[in-house]
Every structure is written in structure tokens, then in C-alpha cells.
């Protein structure tokens, strides 16, 4: 695939952003509140130049390395999920009149977004969310509205974090599809690879040159190096395996450490659970029906006849891990984990899914 790549010098990044800005609002990585986050991007200067990220279970710290790169960090706390599957949004409204109830849909206003800096794990997660929200008898209109408008500039990971295991899950570190344009970052510029018609068109507007053999070699080495990661998954597929371990004592052990806070599910780029909520006006004349992210760790998630079916944290943790790594296969034909490691880093007490899986399956990490 590198065969149709071209080279854009670092100075050309501004041009790339200008071209993108012509038809889109650009979302790009920026340092905010001590983390690399996707925010509205005004220009290349706002990118996290020289920023790296050290991640460990329960810990995320920025490091300034003074390098000349803008994308030398591994992922931040959020993936594309909040951009498409909003944390909280209105689904419909209803007004009460003398004549009766009048319902109307509240779709998000159309907006063309271009996201730059997307990692391969997040593309894999996006593909999964696409399947969940867009397929089936009742595609999700809110998600669809945002998804149609999305332009993706992906970047191959050059500096995975210690929490990353996309190589083990098979979702990275190098992107193969799902983007409009792909960047490989080098000190002096970027290797550009188009992934769609729209990406091709954008490329055509840029002042690019051919890729030198040295650059090609450097990119290849970088891609290989990024694939060397510390964390692994159990060697054979987990489809059907975790359910069989439903009565393992390990769940209780995890529950002693787990806070049931739901941070893992919130940062997970594939988790789709949400609850619906009614927000009536005080005067009783209208009401709004919202949805917001929910978590299998919350009591309300499994509420049945007034009591949670999954009564304790052991059962809730088991639901999270079993769904993600086992039942997902039945639902979507693959695991629900894309190896981004967010649930490991952003768990306040540093519970590590890869460690738990190895322990449950009885094999060494």
C-alpha cells in the first residue's frame, strides 16, 4: 500500500489543514487538562509538538521531549466515540397540547468534521461502532447523521504506550483501511497514503513529492518497531471461553479491587451501552427524551423488577470482560477489544484487562 504514497514536508502540514478547513471543521489533538485530546483545531501550531505520553495501569503523564513531531504520542483519553456517539444527547421531544401528544425527532445539526491524528485502534473501534449503530432493522439516525459527515486523517502510531496491545488484538499499530488519508510521521515530514476518493482529491491539492528510498526504509522500520509491544492477549481465541469460566474465583478477587466506577467502559472506544432518560419541563407542557452513556458497572444497567440482576461488582466485572472479549464474537464476529489500552490506563486503580485474561485463562502473560 505504501506504493501510492507521496511525501509532504513538515511545512506542508499547514497547507493540508487549510485545504481541510475549506469544507470541514477540523478536530485535532491538543494538550488540554494534562492530556492529548481531540478538540477544534485552528492551526498546526496547536498540535502537541514534542509531546509524548507515558501510560501505565492507572496512570497517564505527558512528557515534553522537545522532538519535532506532532504525533509522537500514543492515544489520549478519548477516541472518536464522543464525536459520533455523543455522551449525552436528545433523541426526541414531545409537546402536550389540548389535541394530544406531538412527537418530534431532535437530530444533531449537520456538520462536516475532519479528524486528524486518528490511530489504527480507533479506526477498528469505529468500524465496530459503525456495525452496531448503522446495521440492523433500525439504524441509529443520530450516529448516522454524524458519521456521514466524517473525514478521517489517520496517523500510524510511532510511539505506542506501555498499555497498548493493538498488535495482539490485530488492530494496529498500522492502519490498513477506514481512513481517507493516512500519515506516517518522520522528523522532516509525512508520508501520505490516500484511502478513499476524497482522500485522493485532497492529496491532489497538496505540494507533495515522491518518497525517497531512505524515507521508505525509515517508515518501514518505524512501523515494525511500533508493533513490538509489552502486553499480550491469551494465545487462542476467547470466543465462548470466558462464559465457561463464569464461576471462576478470579471474578471475586477482581471485585475486591474494582471500584465499579465505570471509567473503563466510558473510555472504551467500542462500548455502546447507553440509557434513555426523560427530562420533563417543570410546567408539564413538554418533555425531552435523552440518551446518555451508561455502563454495565452501574446498578441501573441490569435492573429487573426493582433489583439489579447483576447484584455485585464481581458479576458486573464479569459482564464487562465477558462481553468485550467473548460474547462480542457472537454479536459482531470478532472481539470487542481493539487493544487501545485505555481501560488499563484510565482505571483509577489500574486493573489490567490483559492481566486478568491471562489469569482467567490460566496462561502466562
Amino acid at each position: 500500500m505504501m506504493s501510492d504514497s507521496t511525501f509532504l514536508p513538515q511545512s506542508g502540514l499547514a497547507q493540508l489543514l487549510t485545504e481541510l478547513a475549506a469544507g470541514h471543521r477540523i478536530i485535532g489533538p491538543q494538550v488540554e487538562q494534562g492530556a492529548v485530546q481531540y478538540r477544534s483545531l485552528q492551526g498546526a501550531a496547536e498540535l502537541p509538538w514534542g509531546v509524548r505520553v507515558a501510560q501505565q495501569p492507572g496512570s497517564y503523564r505527558l512528557q515534553r521531549q522537545g522532538s519535532e513531531r506532532a504525533f509522537a504520542w500514543a492515544n489520549g483519553p478519548q477516541a472518536l466515540k464522543p464525536l459520533l456517539f455523543a455522551p449525552r444527547e436528545s433523541l426526541w421531544q414531545v409537546v402536550k397540547t389540548a389535541a394530544g401528544l406531538s412527537f418530534s425527532e431532535t437530530l444533531p445539526p449537520p456538520e462536516r468534521l475532519a479528524v486528524i491524528g486518528v490511530r489504527s485502534c480507533d479506526l477498528a473501534a469505529l468500524a465496530l461502532q459503525d456495525r452496531h449503530f448503522l446495521q440492523g432493522a433500525s439504524p441509529d439516525a443520530h450516529y448516522a447523521r454524524r458519521r456521514e459527515q466524517l473525514f478521517i486523517v489517520a496517523v500510524n502510531c510511532s510511539h505506542p504506550a506501555a498499555t497498548c496491545f493493538c498488535a495482539a488484538s490485530g488492530d494496529g499499530p498500522n492502519a490498513v483501511s477506514g481512513f481517507d488519508l493516512l500519515l506516517d510521521e518522520l522528523d522532516e515530514g509525512f508520508l501520505l497514503t490516500p484511502g478513499s476518493e476524497a482522500g485522493q482529491q485532497l492529496l491532489a491539492a497538496l505540494s507533495v513529492s515522491g518518497v525517497t528510498p531512505a524515507q521508505r526504509q525509515q517508515v518501514e522500520a518505524q512501523r515494525r518497531a511500533a508493533a513490538v509491544q509489552q502486553r499480550t492477549l491469551p494465545s487462542s481465541s476467547l470466543a465462548g471461553r470466558l462464559l465457561e469460566l463464569a464461576s471462576s474465583p478470579r471474578w471475586q478477587q477482581i471485585a475486591e479491587r474494582c471500584l465499579a466506577c465505570g471509567n473503563c467502559t466510558a473510555v472504551c472506544p467500542t462500548c455502546f451501552c447507553h440509557s434513555e432518560q426523560e427530562v420533563p419541563q417543570l410546567d408539564g407542557e413538554g418533555s425531552e427524551h435523552l440518551r446518555q452513556w451508561d455502563s454495565c458497572f452501574s446498578a441501573g444497567h441490569s435492573l429487573l423488577h426493582g433489583t439489579p440482576l447483576r447484584a455485585d461488582t464481581a458479576q458486573r466485572y464479569r459482564q464487562w470482560l465477558t462481553h468485550k472479549f467473548d460474547s462480542w464474537h457472537q454479536q459482531f464476529g470478532r472481539s470487542g477489544c481493539v487493544g487501545c489500552g485505555r481501560c488499563i490506563a484510565w482505571c483509577p486503580v489500574g486493573i489490567d484487562v490483559t492481566e486478568e485474561l491471562h489469569a482467567l485463562c490460566g496462561d502466562e502473560a
Binding site: S102, H132, S138, L243, A246, Q277, H301, D312, Q330
Partner: protein, 277 residues
């Protein structure tokens, strides 16, 4: 926007008190064109929306060929159902649906239909019973078995008595604690199998009730030579969206709202009886 995402306005045409805590709402969709186009299968459910309060999943108990009304029998258990209970004829509510997969009534044609229910008022099977009774010629025997914990828990006594009068229909009732005047059988539901005229090779069994009870029934019937494929269970999980998106109703890899709520035994056998799944 589809009928699955946005509620349609519906009017309560009639409210029937079934017991102090169970009532039936007969509804008509406010827009005649929408009402006319509305189609469902027995065992499917709607999301009923109580204005300003929220939505709940409720099975449809009316006959699919009844073009006049969509009926729901609801038990008051909490916030929304208590609120729905106060609705009167003429009141408005919202309705989304139908959702899910219904009973295998087409497949059951030509054979016996065995209904096994436990607990209090099991609305989903009422739809199946009424369906069969209205198309009596297409089915063999209809065996209705209901188990309750205590004799006093039995509701719809008249209804059972009425069904018992129908041709080729057997109604069997059991209570684990019968009490002095309980005229029927005493014990858990499977005690009724001794008395039922069961034909394992040509029956379809439709079950509804607490999971523990359904597991016991399945085990017993498999022991009596029923095939797993002939057993159907109606499952219940927390539900918000009804369309397989919100994730609340997951049971292993199944979304109860769209893959169910009716499942054949082999589909979910490994998931049954696992606590907290």
C-alpha cells in the same frame, strides 16, 4: 424517522381492570394511516411511553388480525407501570414498535401447543393462547399449565375456567403452597406433567415466567423425550431502546429485544441458570 425510533401517539380506547395490580389498555394509534399499517406477531412487544415519565417494554396481547385495537396487559411493579395504571379512556400515550421475535406459531401448526407459565400474569403467552384458540382448526391439543407460588396468587381464574371449556383444551393449575381451599394440584409446575396429555414428538412448548421455573420445565420435558428445538422460552431483561442498541438487555451474545424475547431452547441453553448473566 421510523416507528422504531420515535413514538407514535396512541389513544387509550378502553381500560380493563384485570386484578388490583393488573390492567389491560386497548389502544388505537392516533393517526389512522399509521394504525392501519401497523402489523405485529404474537409475542412481540411495544415500548409504551408515559408522557413525561418514560418508556417500558410491554408485550402485545391482542390478536394480530384485530384491526381495531392494540391491547397490552400490564402489571404494576414500579415507576412507569404505576403511572400507566392511572390512564383512562381518552388519555394519550406514546407507542414504538413492534419489536422482537414472536412465538413460532406458524411452525407449531398441525401439532399440539403446550403452554407452561409460572408466576404472576404472564402476558406474552396470553397472546399465543388467544391466537391458537381463534384458529383452533390449525392446531392439535392446547395444554395450558400454570404454576403459582401460593394459591392466592392465581389471577384470571375466570379466564382459566373459560379456556378449560374450549374443545381439545386442557387447563392444569398447580400451587407450591395450595392452602386449604385450593382445588387444583399442589407442587411445582412439573407435577402437572403427570396429568397432562403430552405428546413429545408433535408439540411446541411455549414458556414464560421466572428463569428458574423455565429451566426446571425444560429439564423435565427433555427427560420426557421433547426435543430441545420444540421448547421456546420468553426471556426478560432490562430494556431501554427496544432496538438492539442500548445494550441493557444483553444475555450473553444475545440482545433479548431483537434476538428474542422468544428464544428456542438450544439458542440459549448455555446461558440459562448462570447467576447474574
Amino acid at each position: 424517522m421510523s416507528q422504531f425510533n420515535l413514538p407514535h401517539e396512541a389513544e387509550v380506547v378502553e381500560r380493563i381492570e384485570e386484578s388490583p395490580t393488573i390492567f389491560t389498555l386497548r389502544l388505537r394509534l392516533a393517526d389512522p394511516a399509521v394504525h392501519a399499517a401497523y402489523r405485529f406477531a404474537p409475542g412481540q412487544f411495544n415500548m409504551l411511553y408515559l408522557y413525561g415519565v418514560g418508556e417500558v417494554a410491554i408485550s402485545i396481547v391482542s390478536d394480530p388480525e384485530d384491526e381495531q385495537m392494540i391491547a397490552h396487559t400490564i402489571r404494576q411493579v414500579g415507576r412507569v407501570t404505576n403511572g400507566l395504571a392511572r390512564l383512562q379512556a381518552g388519555d394519550r400515550l406514546g407507542l414504538r414498535g413492534p419489536f422482537g421475535r414472536g412465538w413460532p406459531l406458524a411452525q407449531a401448526e398441525g401439532g399440539d401447543v403446550v403452554i407452561a407459565t409460572g408466576g404472576l400474569g404472564c402476558a406474552p403467552v396470553v397472546a399465543a393462547i388467544n391466537y391458537v384458540l381463534r384458529r383452533r382448526e390449525r392446531y392439535g391439543n392446547l395444554i395450558i399449565m400454570q404454576g403459582v407460588k401460593h394459591g392466592d396468587d392465581l389471577i384470571w381464574c375466570d379466564q382459566y375456567a373459560q379456556w378449560a371449556q374450549m374443545p381439545d383444551t386442557q387447563v392444569l393449575l398447580a400451587a407450591s403452597e395450595g392452602g386449604a381451599c385450593w382445588p387444583y394440584h399442589v407442587g411445582h409446575l412439573p407435577v402437572l406433567f403427570e396429568h397432562a396429555r403430552l405428546k413429545p414428538e408433535s408439540s411446541t412448548v411455549m414458556m414464560c415466567g421466572p428463569e428458574g421455573m423455565m429451566i426446571a420445565v425444560c429439564r423435565e420435558l427433555l427427560g420426557r423425550g421433547f426435543s430441545g428445538e420444540s421448547l421456546y422460552l420468553s426471556m426478560e431483561r432490562n430494556m431501554h431502546c427496544g432496538r438492539g442498541k442500548c445494550g441493557h438487555c444483553q444475555l450473553g451474545g444475545k440482545f433479548v429485544c431483537q434476538d428474542g424475547p422468544i428464544f428456542s431452547y438450544p439458542e440459549i441453553a448455555p446461558l440459562l441458570g448462570v447467576k447474574g448473566l
